[in-house]
Each structure stands twice: as C-alpha cells, then as structure tokens.
C-alpha cells in the first residue's frame, strides 16, 4: 500500500535539474516583475528551500495530504474506455486514470494550495490572495485558508464567475472574499494581473498563492514540486500494477500545473512519452483558442518568459476556450522548455472535441470529468489510432466536472 509519507519527495533528484539559480528553464522563466516584489520573491525562495528540507514541514504537509486531501489518489484502470479504443482483435492502448478528481475539493489544485499555505504560515503571512480561472484553485485556496484561519481574497474574472458560479458559491461559503475582475476579457489572465497588483500593494503582509506553474521564479518551481506528488505516486502505482513504467503520460495544459505534476517525476525516463493538450477553442485557424505552445511566440507575461499568444506589437491576445481553466494566453515556462528540448509533445483539441469527450467519458466510465480534463481525454481519439501494441497510458484525471455541468448544458441544449 502506498503511503504518502513514505515515498513522496520534495527534493530534486538531481542538482543539475532546472530551474537554475536565476529561475531559468533554459531561456524560459526568470523574474520579470516590478522591483517592489523582488524582496518577496527572494523571501519565498529562501523559505521554500528551508522548509522543503524541514522534517516538521514535511510531516505536516504529507500528513494533511493523506488525512485531509485523501491521498494517495487511485490509479484506476479505465476498462470501458480502453475497450472503446481497442482494435478489432482486442489489442490496443491500456488506459489508466490518475484520479486527482477524487481529492478533497475535486481537483489537483489542493496539493499546491496546501503546500503554499503551510509556507505562508511559517513566513508569518496572515493574508492570502490567489487568482482563479475555473475556480478550482480558488476553491482549494479558500479551503486551506478556512482550515488555517487565514484571511482569503480570490481574484476572478467576471466572465469566469458567471460560467463557474458553483465555485464562486463554494469559495464564499468557506469565508473567502471573491473580487470580480472586469478588465480585459474578465478571465484568468486579468484575474492574475489583478492578484499581482494586490501583491505589489500588500506584499509585506500577504502571501500570493499562485495556482499554476507560471509566474515569476520561484513559483514555477514551487508549484511543480508541490504537485510532483502526482507523478511520484503514479510511478509507485505503476510499479505495483505491472512492475514497470507507464509508456505515455497525457494531461491538459493551461498554465500547466497538473501536467507538470504528472510529468516531473518522469522527465529523466526517456522512454516515457509525455503529451500535453492545450485548448484549441474554435480551432487554431479561428484565432479563438488558447493553444499557447502550439501557436504562440516567446514573450513575457506575469513575470516569466515563456511561449505567449501575442500580436505583432507584443500585445497579449485575449484567448478563448470553453474551459475556464485553460483560457490563458501564457503557459508555465518549464513547458516551453520541455517543448523546445523536445522532451514533451504538445497538441490541441477544440471546444467541440472536448465537449464530445466530456459526454462520452461520462457515459463510458461514470466519471464526469472537468472540461479541462476532457481536453486530455479527447486527444485519445487522435492518439490511439497512431499507437502500436498495447502501450499503457496514464491520463491525469485532474478534476471533476460538477462545476462545468451548467456550461455544458448550455451548449448541448442552447434553446432551454
């Protein structure tokens, strides 16, 4: 039986691993922020290095992951989904789900929120802020703030508040203040900018729990390392199931935290194929998409150099996705690094493909996935016919879809 505190690990396996001391993943990453934040980023980096090696921090973190979050999350064999993609002779990909949707609060986001709130507590910060898109990170942050009695302010785009109304209610129920952000398209990009502005203003009393592997160093590293438990458990569970590694890892990518959480443990296992799926929106030719790695150019957004959806003047383009959690014009810098070094592959699926997968998956497995997660699942349609033999695929089932039911209903039954 896997126990979260026996094999999990916050320390890098290899000192040569990215990021470097400047927070660079190759040319990506860095700290492109107003001077006001620089001391806070240094303080956070120091605290992270100190506490990740600290026995009492680890005991508290892994103890709560087990008893409060409900880890380890199961690795579940998706039997009917596997049958669906089987060849006529019965052979084909063996599809497994890493069930992050079964975590407390319904997504992988709680792993990072919990780790960061424990850091904030040790740094003496009593006020917590966060940005949220789909609301999963906001809910996770509101949850851990309630658990530790900290003031919690969540920035959320007005458009996202409408399409993720259930999560807005959940956050408020747990005592968080949800501040609507109307600038731009009223989505995740704008909420992130507003959270950063709050942090610039209240940096001396406030910790910013950034929710993805994005933002200025040390966030991409911290969030990745708190999410790395996903891959670490997956490795052990695969070992227990078949005594080997998975062949393919598949995850959706908005900012990219659930994908990095799954991938990180396997980056050095060259035989493990890693595939990230972005939001293709209404199609890559339509300009209404959020396929940053597929269609973006290198730029700087929210403190990091990475691929970015931008126009010819370097203005950030407003992205589009049916999924609020993927509706982001940037991407975590380590994904840009994994793409350019060809260690990971990135593709996209459209809103429609994700909606189809959302329904099909619900009917085949009795699991309603988050619309974000449905993007990764949808790619099976493209991937499976290309595969030979019976490769084992692990999909990060990053979140559950209760929050998306209204959005999907609107698309399926627009007249009602």
């Amino acid at each position: 039986m896997l126990t979260t505190d026996s094999q999990a690990n916050l320390q890098p396996a290899d000192k040569a691993q990215v990021p470097d001391a400047q927070g660079r993943f190759g040319k990506f990453g860095g700290k492109y922020v107003p001077e006001t934040l620089m001391p806070a980023l240094s303080e956070l980096e120091t605290a992270f290095y100190q506490y990740r090696d600290d026995a009492s921090f680890q005991q508290e973190f892994y103890g709560l992951l087990r008893d409060y979050v409900g880890r380890p999350s199961p690795l579940y064999f998706a039997e009917r989904l596997t049958q669906h993609y089987a060849r006529s002779d019965g052979s084909g990909a063996q599809i497994y789900l890493k069930r992050e949707d079964l975590n407390h609060t319904g997504a992988h986001k709680i792993n990072n929120a919990l780790g960061q709130v424990l850091l904030a507590k040790r740094m003496g910060k009593q006020r917590i802020i966060a940005e949220t898109g789909a609301g999963q990170h906001g809910v996770a942050t509101a949850t851990v703030c309630a658990r530790f009695g900290l003031q919690c302010i969540i920035y959320m785009g007005v458009h996202d508040m409408e399409r993720q109304a259930l999560n807005v209610f959940r956050m408020r129920l747990m005592g968080a203040e949800v501040r609507p952000v109307a600038s731009g398209t009223g989505t995740l990009k704008d909420a992130t900018s507003e959270a950063i502005r709050d942090w610039v203003t209240n940096v001396e009393t406030t910790h910013y729990i950034l929710g993805s592997v994005a933002g200025p160093h040390p966030y991409p590293m911290i969030v990745r390392d708190f999410q790395a438990i996903i891959g670490q458990e997956t490795r052990q569970q695969c070992q227990e199931r078949w005594g080997g590694l998975p062949d393919i890892l598949l995850a959706c990518v908005g900012g990219g935290s659930n994908a990095m959480g799954l991938f990180h443990e396997f980056v050095k296992d060259a035989n493990v194929r890693m595939i990230g799926i972005e939001a293709g929106g209404e199609g890559l030719q339509s300009e209404k998409h959020a396929a940053t790695l597929t269609r973006g150019r290198v730029g700087v957004l929210h403190g990091a150099m990475s691929y970015l959806l931008q126009d010819e003047d370097g203005q950030v383009i407003e992205p589009h996705s049916i999924s609020a959690g993927l509706d982001y014009p940037g991407v975590g810098p380590e994904h840009s690094y994994l793409k350019d070094s060809e260690r990971a592959e990135y593709y996209s699926v459209t809103d429609q493909q994700a909606l189809d997968a959302f329904q099909q998956f619900s009917q085949l497995e009795g699991i309603i996935p988050a619309l974000e997660t449905a993007h990764a699942i949808a790619y099976l349609d493209t991937l499976c016919p290309q595969l030979e033999g019976n490769p084992r695929i692990v999909i990060n089932c990053s979140g559950r879809g209760d929050k998306d039911v209204q959005t999907v209903a609107k698309f399926l039954m627009p007249e009602q």
Binding site: Q22, G30, K31, Y32, V33, P34, E35, T36, L37, M38, P39, A40, S183, G184, K189, S193, I196, R197, V200, T201, N202, V203, E204, R297, V298, G299, V300, L301, H302, G303, M305, L308, Q310, E312, D313, G314, Q315, V316
Partner: protein, 270 residues
C-alpha cells in the same frame, strides 16, 4: 529655442540640479484619446513647466499600473494605438520640445520588437530615456547593453521594499536618474505620501550622487512640494495628468493639464 537633441536625461537633470531646481516630470499615455492629442499634450506640458516628460506606450497587461493608467492604456489600444505610429508621432513632435522624452513601456513589446531594433527606433524618434517597470536588476542586462550604442539612458526603479545593499547596486546601474517608487503599490492617485519616502531619499542620497526622481502616487502640488523638500531631485506625476487629460473633450483635457502642470511647477519652484 532649445530642442530635445541638446539634452540627455542626465544632462537635463544635472543642469537643473546645478541651478538648485527640482525637475517636474509629467506622464501621459500615448494614444489616449488619440495621438494627435498626445502630440499637443507633449507641447503644452513642455511649455508649461515640464522639465522632462514620460510618455507611456500602452500595453495590454500593465502590472505596475493602477486603474487610471490601466484604463488609459485600454482605451488607447482599443483605438488601435500601435508602437510604430507612437514613434512616428514622437519623431514629428520631439524636435519642437525642450524636455527630453522618457519612454515608459513594459518589457514584452520591447522583446517582441527585438531589443536592438527597439532602441534604434526609439532613438531615431527622439526619445532620450527609457523606464521598464517589469525589468528588475536581474533581468536588465540585455537592455542596458543594447542601450549603450544608442545613447538612450535606462532608468531603474527602487521600491520601498528594496533592501539597502540592493539599493546601492540599482543606484550604481541606473542611468539618467534613479526612479524611487514612493509607495508599496501600483501607480495611482493617493491622498497622502508615505512619510518613509523621506528616509528612503536619505538612504538613496547616502549611496549615490545621481539625481533621484520620486513617482507613483503624487497627484497634488502640495505633495510635490513635500517630496521636493524631502530631497527629491525630480517629481514624477502620472495618473493625475492622465485622468485630467481624459476628462471631457480633448480641448478640455489639454486645458486642464496646462493649468495643472503650471500649478505643480509653481509648487516646486518656491
């Protein structure tokens, strides 16, 4: 008439200091409400008390800016304001100005243009200085290197949160002057200037001979005077100009900034 080409940012600041004067640096956003008005505004500011002028290039995600300048940038972008027409306008108007122009832009538009072409083009347009609010010391090396050959001076920012040893390094690297951010926060109008600005100015003066400009949050003549008395060599006023310029018709806006610019200059000329 002295044209802009006679003065670098540091040259202008030094000359003022030699005369015992505190510089007034107004900020406006290019393209709000349109570039024609921006050109007129630059001339009006130049003739009514400005010693240098900061010209903001509108950007989609201005992290260091509060609501007033954010909104101005959004309006300017919605009107289709692009970098090239901004520089074209500046090229036309800069020979008529005595105040050196300092461009204020976020890093991504620079990176997108290519750092060296960007510097070449803004120098050709007549800009003398550059402020990039999201480029701290750690990331500024490439920009400083490219600036060298063009004569553009890159001014770095010091914040209230900056530790003392870091202040020294920033002061050493900063060109033209040192931009002291007077608040822990974004740009915008505030009713009071934090008293710690005084000790920050003292700290800064003890580690550098370079002039110090104080900005973010200064919106009234009395505040400008206060900051000058605390030892500022320049006072930078942004949101209060942007707000006045945007209020009513372009003509009303221009009239309002003329009056305001004079009152600020008068306050720091006593």
């Amino acid at each position: 008439m002295v044209s802009v080409s006679d003065y670098s940012v540091s040259g202008c600041m030094d000359a003022l200091r030699d005369r015992g004067q505190c510089a007034l640096i107004p900020f406006i956003t290019a393209g709000d409400p349109d570039l024609e008005t921006t050109a007129k505004a630059l001339q009006i500011l130049d003739r009514n008390g400005a010693d240098l002028i900061e010209l903001g290039v509108p950007y989609s995600d201005p992290l260091a800016d509060g609501p007033v300048i954010q909104a101005a940038a959004t309006r300017a972008l919605q009107k289709g304001t692009r970098l090239d027409p901004v520089l074209e306008m500046l090229k036309q108007v800069s020979p008529t100005l005595k105040s050196p122009i300092i461009l204020f832009t976020y890093y991504n538009p620079i990176l997108n243009r290519g750092i060296e072409p960007f510097f070449q083009q803004i120098a050709e347009a007549g800009a003398k200085g550059l402020v990039v609010p999201d480029l701290p010391l750690e990331e500024v090396e490439g920009v400083l290197a490219a600036a060298k050959s063009t004569g553009i001076e890159v001014t770095l920012l010091v914040a209230p949160t900056t530790p003392k040893e870091r202040i020294e390094t920033i002061a050493h690297r900063s060109q033209g002057f040192i931009y002291l951010v007077s608040v822990t926060g974004v740009t915008g109008i505030r009713t009071e200037i934090e008293t710690r600005v005084q000790s920050l100015l003292t700290d800064l003066h003890s580690v550098t001979d370079k002039p110090i400009g104080v900005g973010f949050g200064i919106s009234q003549p009395g505040q400008a005077k206060q900051v000058m008395e605390w030892g500022a060599d320049a006072v930078i006023v942004g949101s209060a100009f942007v707000k006045r310029l945007a209020d009513g018709s372009p003509e009303q806006g221009l009239q309002a900034i003329e009056t305001f610019c004079r009152s600020l200059k008068a306050a720091i000329s006593q």
